[in-house]
Amino acid sequence: MKFATESIAVIGCGFYGASVAEHLARQGARVTVIEQDPEPLMRASYNNQARLHGGYHYPRSFSTAYRSRLNFPRFMEQFHPAIRSDFVNLYAIARINTKVTARQFETFCRNIEAPLRPARPAFAKMFAPHLIEAVYETEEFVFDAAILRRLMADRLQNMGVEMIFGRRVSSVETQNDSRLRVVCTDGSSLSANWVFNCTYAGLNTIGGISRTRQGLKQEVTEMALVELPPELQGLSVTVMDGPFFSFMPFPDRNLATLSHVRYTPHADWIEKIHGFRDPYATLDVTSRETRFGYMIRDAQRYLPALRGAVYRDSLFEIKTVLMRNESDDGRPILFEADPRNPHIVSMLGSKIDNIYDALAAIDLIVQSRPRA
C-alpha cells in the first residue's frame, strides 16, 4: 500500500477522527491523533440522540435514506457491542402541517426496503387521534456512546495509533520541505505528511487551514435527558410533523433523550453572515436554561403519556450544519482539500453512519495523489 511511509496527523478524536485514524493505520500509515479533551468521543459523538438511522428519518431525500439503509447493517456488524436494540421503535405521522402523509411514508419505506408495519393497537391508541394520522413500528436502534468510546480507543491502540489527549491544535504550518507542522496551544508540535481536520464544530478554527468554501451554520442545541413514565418504558417514539420531536433510550445514563426540532436549537449563527466566532467559547458562555418545559408541553399534545416524564439533565452541544442543507433532507459529508495545500483535508459529517462514505472518499483522494 502507498501508505507505508506516510505519517498522518488527525486532529480531533470524535467518532470521525478515530475512524479515520484507524482506517489509515490499517493501511500501514503512522498515525497520530490529537484531541483537546481528556478522552475520545466526548463532544458531538456523545452529546446526541445516538440514533442508528434506518432511513425512516429522511423521507424527502431518497439518496440519504437509501445510504442509511446500506450503512446500517455494516455499522451493526462492526460495532455490535455498542448497539442497543431492546426497545420498540415507533414512528407517528401527524395529520396537519406534516411534509409527508401516512401513505407517502408507507410508499417511501417500501422503496428503500425498510421494515414497516402498522403499530399494535396497544401502542397506537396512546397517541391523540386528532393530531396523529398513523403509527408504525420500525426498526431502528441506538448506540451506547460510552461503549463506542471504549471500542474505538481499543482499536486505535491495537492499530498502534499514537493518541495525544488534552492538547488543542492552534495552527498547521507548511514547512520548507513540504511537510506539515501541527502546532498546539501549549507550544508543542509534531510534523506529518498529511493532516486530517476532523474537529466538527472547530473545523474553521485552526490557523493555516483555509476556512471551508461551503458555509457552516453553528447551532447551540439542547438534548434533554428524561426519565420516562412506566407506560413508555421500553419505547422510542419519533413524531413526524412540520417540527418533529423524538425520544430514544440513552443507555449510558439509563435515561431517554428528548429532542424537539423547534426547541432543541437555542441559538445559531451562520459564519459567513454573522461573522466567525470560536464555537467552543461561545458554548461556554451561553446561558444553559433548559427548554424542557416547552418540549414536553408540545409533545404531550401528541402523546399524553409524556405528561409523566421527569426531567433529569440536558446535554448542550454545538451542532454544525452545512449551509446548503436547509431546504431538503440531504446530509452529505463535507470533504475538502485545502486549496493552498492538498495534503490538508477538512472533513465534516452530520450522521455517524455516514462514516463509510467518508472513508471511501479518503481512499479516493489518497490513491490519486502518490507521494515519492
Binding site: D268, D284, R301
Partner: protein, 339 residues
C-alpha cells in the same frame, strides 16, 4: 419569584409593521418578568407590508416569539383559532395587538389564579373617532341582543378578543369542527362559569378603520345559524302555524262560498294577502335551508380550513450571568467575544 405556569399569548397580525415591535417588547418584558416559560404566538394573516420580515428580525432579539404565516387570509377570528391550536401553554391569552392593552394581562392572570378558567375582557369603547364608529357599534350591540334572544345564551354584549382560556377549555374548544367561525361566541359553547374584566381599548393603528358592513353581515348570519338549531326550528314552527292558518282560511273560504257567494269579489284582498304571506314564508324557509345545506356541504368536503406556509421561532444567543470575580471557579478562562 417567577411563576412555573406556562403562558401563551396568541395575537393575529395583519399589516402591523408600524406598531408590532413596540407591542412585542411590551408583552415580552411583562411575561419574562413574571414567568419562567412563556411564548408569544403570532399568526400572520397575509400581511402585505413588512410585518413578517420585521418579526423574523425581532426573533433574533426577543425570546420566545413564534410566528405562523398563513397561506390565505382567514379573518381575525379564524386567525385566533389557528393561534390557539398551536399554543402550548397551560393557559392561553388571546389579544388583538392593534387594540388590546398588554398592561391588563396581569389582571387576567390574577383572576385565573383565583380559579376562573375563562375570563372575557369587556370593552369600554370610547367610541367616535378612535374606534370602529358609533353606527357599527350600535349595529353590533343590536345583533348580539338578537343573538342572545334567539339562542338563549348568556353572553355579555361588550365581548372582545381579549380573553384568557385555560388549557382544559382550549382542548375542548379545538375539538369543535366549526371552531374557526365560532371564536367570537365561544361563551355560548363552553357552558363553563366565566369571569369578566372590564378594560379600555387602545388604538395602535392610528389610521382610519374601514368598516366592512357586508362582511360583518355575512359573519353575523353564519354565527347565528352555526350557533344553534333554534332558527330552523322557529321557522319550522312558523311554517306549521302558517299551514294551519292557511287550512283554517281554506275552510273559511269554503264556508263563505257556500253561504255568501254573492260577496265573493270582496274576498280578493284577503286571498292576495294569504298568497303573498305564504310566499314570504316559503322564501324564508328556502334561505335558511340553503344556508344549512352550505354548511353540510362544506363539512363533507373536508376542505382544509387553513394552511401554514412558514413557521419560525426565536433564536437568541443569550449569555450566562457573569460570575463574581472573587469566586474561584477553577475552570478554564473564558474568551471575550466580540458581540
Amino acid at each position: 419569584m417567577k411563576s412555573d405556569v406556562f403562558v401563551s399569548v396568541v395575537a393575529p397580525v395583519i399589516n402591523a409593521e408600524p406598531f408590532l415591535e413596540q407591542y412585542l417588547r411590551e408583552v415580552s418584558a411583562l411575561l419574562s418578568a413574571r414567568f419562567k416559560d412563556y411564548e408569544i404566538v403570532l399568526v400572520d394573516n397575509r400581511s402585505s407590508d413588512g410585518t413578517v420580515s420585521l418579526v423574523e428580525r425581532l426573533q433574533r432579539d426577543i425570546q420566545n416569539v413564534q410566528l405562523y404565516c398563513l397561506a390565505r387570509f382567514i379573518g381575525l377570528e379564524g386567525a385566533f383559532v389557528v393561534g390557539i391550536e398551536h399554543a402550548i401553554g397551560d393557559l392561553v391569552i388571546t389579544m388583538d395587538p392593534a387594540f388590546d392593552p398588554p398592561e391588563r394581562i396581569p389582571d387576567l392572570i390574577e383572576l385565573y389564579g383565583r380559579g376562573r378558567e375563562i375570563i372575557y375582557g369587556l370593552r369600554q369603547d370610547r367610541g367616535g373617532r378612535l374606534d370602529q364608529g358609533g353606527f357599527y357599534n350600535m349595529l353590533a350591540r343590536a345583533f348580539y341582543a338578537l343573538y342572545r334572544a334567539i339562542t338563549r345564551e348568556d353572553m355579555p354584549i361588550e365581548l372582545s378578543s381579549f380573553r384568557l382560556l385555560s388549557r382544559r377549555v382550549v382542548n375542548t374548544f379545538i375539538q369543535n369542527q366549526d371552531r374557526y367561525n365560532l371564536f367570537s361566541v365561544m361563551p355560548a359553547f363552553t357552558g363553563l362559569h366565566y369571569a369578566t374584566l372590564t378594560y379600555e381599548r387602545v388604538n395602535r393603528k392610528k389610521g382610519e378603520h374601514r368598516t366592512e358592513y357586508l362582511d360583518a353581515l355575512g359573519r353575523a348570519i353564519k354565527l347565528l345559524l352555526l350557533s344553534s338549531n333554534r332558527p330552523l326550528r322557529m321557522i319550522t314552527f312558523g311554517s306549521l302555524v302558517g299551514a294551519t292558518l292557511s287550512l283554517c282560511y281554506a275552510v273559511y273560504v269554503v264556508v263563505v262560498h257556500l253561504f255568501k257567494s254573492d260577496e265573493l269579489a270582496s274576498g280578493w284582498a284577503s286571498m292576495s294577502l294569504q298568497i303573498s304571506g305564504l310566499f314570504l314564508l316559503h322564501f324564508i324557509i328556502l334561505a335558511v335551508m340553503g344556508e344549512y345545506l352550505i354548511q353540510i356541504f362544506v363539512h363533507t368536503q373536508n376542505r382544509l380550513p387553513y394552511l401554514i406556509v412558514k413557521e419560525s421561532s426565536s433564536l437568541v444567543l443569550s449569555r450566562k450571568q457573569e460570575l463574581n470575580v472573587t469566586l474561584d471557579t477553577g475552570g478554564s478562562p473564558r474568551t471575550e467575544l466580540p458581540r
